[in-house]
């Protein structure tokens, strides 16, 4: 069956009344859960699994897929409005989304996020449809050395995430790498920096760090800067209108980052979080005005938003075509498949074409629903900002606590949230940037594991990173991305000097 016949089968499933109904239920539930800080796609899917018991597999899985990308879609809301990322994939969204909201452009920021999400989601579904069978070979071409090189490439971006002092950015990144080593080391089973405390055995969940460094630290700043409460009500929402110029500005990042996001989503282990960071950095690197990033840039908002949604569809490639869950979320998704008696894998496309193509076809529909449902909601969502400040602050704290508690229902995590909140606040006060910390935390752990896996495989021979073309080329890109901006600057200065 080729992709065309497949899509006809798929749309027959997706456009049946059952298909439409369950896509709709899925995306609504997904967005609502995703909007709450701390609750992301994993919780959303886990909550919905029992509901699918006894359902027909095709509509049930169409619904579960809707819950998944709906949650990613909705996750941007709290990042933009409250600087409290709901899921790890939307941390980068806050970098420019929150400043926009503070400048009184909350409505616009939400609209841009929705459009970019829709665009990323749709482009990646098209790619999923056309390339799923072929891409499964890309997904399996990455071994530990290539992952190490990919993470290294991501880490070189720290220099572009820093505002002001590069040394402070580096210190922040080193701290991030240090924190990620806490817990049981996967390669030896040794405890590192746990002080024998069971609660530290698994290390810190990403969400604790993200909500601590961003949401709690932000709350502290809000309390401290009492003077900035001068936004009037209509200023807070601002115009919803996304002008033609805005669209033009975001079209470049959206198109590029939809592809980047999709490819990174395909790689097991990379996923929406890493995709959104790399996309953000990518756009900042190639931008003519990189100084606008972090201060409410439209490009800086559109890039991670199209990328994280594209990565979500990308993650379906290894799941559907190989049966390999590339992330915690897709692992739970795999569980949802198994509950319904469907085994994803290389044979799914031939054994159960109505499910394979039905899910893909339903994603077109789901993305349209998401856009249509979300745009009219924006004015109401943005009202959150007109809540009196003391109340808003309490709400952010409450949602952060709920979000962290729902990770594993462990009170210890709440104390850690406060610890990282205090750290984040101190970092703000002494102007150490938080993004390098978070990036190093995300990439550092995987990089270390990939490095040590490679070393075990090669019996300690470093040549494993340059012996095959894939890791070699990634390392070269990493090297060039460090060197080229410096060279350009140097040339520019010389030219200026000549004039």
């Amino acid at each position: 069956m080729n992709a065309f016949d497949g899509m006809i089968t798929g749309f027959q499933v997706a456009l049946s009344w059952e298909g439409i109904l369950f896509v709709l239920i899925g995306v609504i539930v997904g967005t609502l859960i995703g909007m709450m800080p701390g609750l992301g796609p994993i919780s959303a899917i886990a909550i919905m699994i029992p509901i699918t018991y006894g359902m027909d597999p095709a509509p049930a899985l169409v619904m579960m897929a809707g819950v998944y990308y709906g949650a990613v879609f909705g996750g941007s809301t709290s990042s933009i409005l409250l600087n409290a990322p709901g899921i790890s994939g939307t941390v980068a969204t806050a970098f420019d989304g929150y400043p926009m909201a503070q400048q009184g452009k909350a409505g616009k920021a939400l609209a841009i996020a929705a459009i970019a999400s829709f665009f990323g989601g749709t482009v990646s579904v098209i790619m999923l449809m056309l390339l799923a069978p072929a891409l499964s070979s890309v997904a399996i071409s990455f071994g530990p050395p290539a992952y190490f090189a990919l993470m290294l490439m991501g880490l070189t971006a720290i220099s572009s995430l820093s505002e002001g002092s590069t040394i402070k950015a580096m210190i922040s990144a080193v701290a991030g790498v240090m924190v990620v080593t806490i817990g049981i080391d996967p390669q030896t089973g040794t405890q590192r920096f746990t002080f024998g405390n069971v609660n530290l055995f698994d290390g810190f969940d990403f969400l604790i760090i993200a909500l601590g460094l961003f949401a709690i630290a932000e709350v502290c700043m809000l309390v401290l800067n009492r003077k900035n409460r001068s936004l009037s009500d209509d200023q807070k929402l601002g115009s919803l209108k996304v002008t033609r110029a805005d669209l033009k500005e975001m079209s470049g990042p959206m198109t590029r980052q939809s592809f980047v996001g999709f490819i990174l989503g395909v790689l097991p282990g990379a996923g929406a979080t890493i995709a959104s960071f790399i996309s953000y950095i990518f756009e900042k690197r190639i931008s003519k005005n990189p100084e606008e990033f972090g201060k409410g840039s439209i490009k800086g908002l559109a890039a991670p938003e199209s990328s994280n949604n594209a990565a979500t569809s990308g993650a379906f490639v290894p799941l559907l075509s190989l049966g390999i869950p590339g992330s915690g979320t897709t692992a739970v998704m795999l569980g949802a498949f198994l509950v319904l008696g469907v085994q994803p894998g290389p044979l799914l496309m031939t054994d159960r074409p109505e499910i394979f193509w039905g899910i893909i076809a339903s994603m077109y529909l789901g993305n349209i629903f998401l856009l249509v449902l979300n745009l009219p909601l924006i004015p109401y969502l943005a009202k959150i900002l007109s809540i009196p400040r003391p109340l808003l602050i309490s709400l952010v704290i409450m949602f952060s606590l709920i979000g962290v508690y729902s990770i594993s229902f462990n009170v210890f995590d709440l104390y850690m949230l406060l610890v990282f909140g205090a750290l984040g606040f101190a970092m703000r006060v002494f102007s150490f940037p938080a993004p390098p910390f978070i990036l190093a935390f995300i990439l550092g752990g995987m990089m270390e594991q990939a490095f040590r896996q490679s070393m075990t495989i090669s019996n300690g021979n470093l040549a494993i990173f340059v012996n095959s073309p894939l890791p070699l080329s990634l390392i070269l890109i990493a090297f060039l991305s460090l060197v080229i901006p410096g060279l350009l600057k140097w040339r520019g200065r010389r030219r200026l000097a000549k004039m």
Binding site: I49, V198, S408
Partner: protein
């Protein structure tokens, strides 16, 4: 003001406690005849997040218990994730003699404490019943030069550095130790086995693209890939061939002349000092569940094998397993 609030809270909690006590004494959990009958909701802890093996087993068991009416009281599944199970175990250990807090477990209940990552192990809990058995499988890429376990192990004896094994669990835990156990029985030096752990979902990928050589995992994880012709199974750790399409093609280690097996058992436990009457009650209920048609269907759906053991049999089995694993871990230098 503060003081009054504190007093109120104290008073309220005293009331709650008093309520609990009176309920326990009036409902008489252990009746005159000595039989136990639950009088409240039963909590079933899955010591992991949603979606995994423990969680699935706990949820299916709770569901079938309710649907068949074998258990009249409601059984609620609670996820307590963290420390590879250690957090949930510490929680259950604190329940002392409660007959209403059960948990599901499998070999990690031995591996995790033996690796020094949990204060509590199987001997600290009351085994109720074992329900199912699963087995390990050793997979290699379809174009691998090895066709059976012996050709793989021969190469490992000659040049142990040339073979890398990957699994999803930590060193010293299940995927690692099931391989070590079979390899050692075949004469491979267990201290020279190269094992890497990939907990980010890349283990199968690494075998398919040739980064590593052997994937040590559960039988259920490999069926689809074998059907698709991507990998082949050199051997499984069951004692006899399994039943079912594809599954029955997998050769056991024993039939290849390696006299060793490994069972990934899965069963249920209660707090340390559970009343013998309660143990008897649950034992009988789990047996009834295991023999029910509805649970047979669940086993079929997930490819699990029936392996019921009552509390006493279970305890003996666990002690024997524990001893063997302890020796093996010490031998490879991971023992505590």
């Amino acid at each position: 003001m503060k003081k009054t609030m504190l007093t109120t809270i104290l008073a309220a909690s005293a009331l709650v406690f008093a309520g609990c006590n009176s309920e326990e004494s009036t409902n008489g959990e252990t009746g005159e005849s000595g039989a136990f009958e639950p009088s409240q909701n039963i909590e079933m802890v899955a010591p992991a997040g949603a979606g995994g093996g423990w969680d699935t087993t706990a949820r299916e068991v709770a569901r079938v218990f309710g649907e068949t009416g074998i258990l009249e009281e409601n059984m609620t599944v609670v996820n307590k994730e963290g420390g590879g199970g250690a957090i949930a175990w510490a929680y259950i250990h604190g329940q002392d003699d409660s007959p209403y807090n059960l948990f599901v477990s499998s070999p990690p209940l031995m591996f995790v404490p033996l690796n020094g990552q949990s204060e509590f192990g199987h001997e600290d809990f009351t085994p109720l019943a074992n329900m199912i058995a699963d087995y390990g499988a050793f997979a290699v890429s379809a174009d691998s030069e090895w066709d059976d376990l012996n050709s793989l192990f021969d190469q490992m004896k000659e040049d142990p550095e040339s073979v890398t094994v990957v699994g999803t669990s930590a060193p010293g835990s299940m995927d690692h130790m099931q391989f070590v156990r079979i390899a050692k029985a075949a004469g491979v030096d267990p201290t020279k086995i190269k094992y890497v752990s990939d907990q980010d979902g890349g283990a199968l990928t690494s075998v398919l693209n040739g980064s590593v050589d052997v994937f040590s995992t559960g039988v259920g994880e490999v069926v689809e890939q074998v059907r698709a012709g991507n990998i082949k199974i050199l051997g499984i750790t069951a004692e006899e061939r399994l039943e079912g399409e594809v599954l029955s093609d997998f050769p056991t280690a024993i039939e290849q002349g390696i006299d060793e097996s490994f069972i990934n058992w899965r069963g249920f436990f209660g707090p340390p000092n559970m009343d013998p009457a309660a143990v008897e009650f649950y034992e009988a209920k789990f047996q009834e569940l295991s023999e029910s048609e509805e649970f047979a269907e669940v086993r079929k759906k997930y490819g699990w094998n029936e392996m019921y053991m009552n509390s006493e049999e279970y305890e003996e089995f666990l002690n024997a397993e524990y001893e063997e694993i302890e020796i093996l871990l010490e031998e490879i230098g991971l023992g505590n």
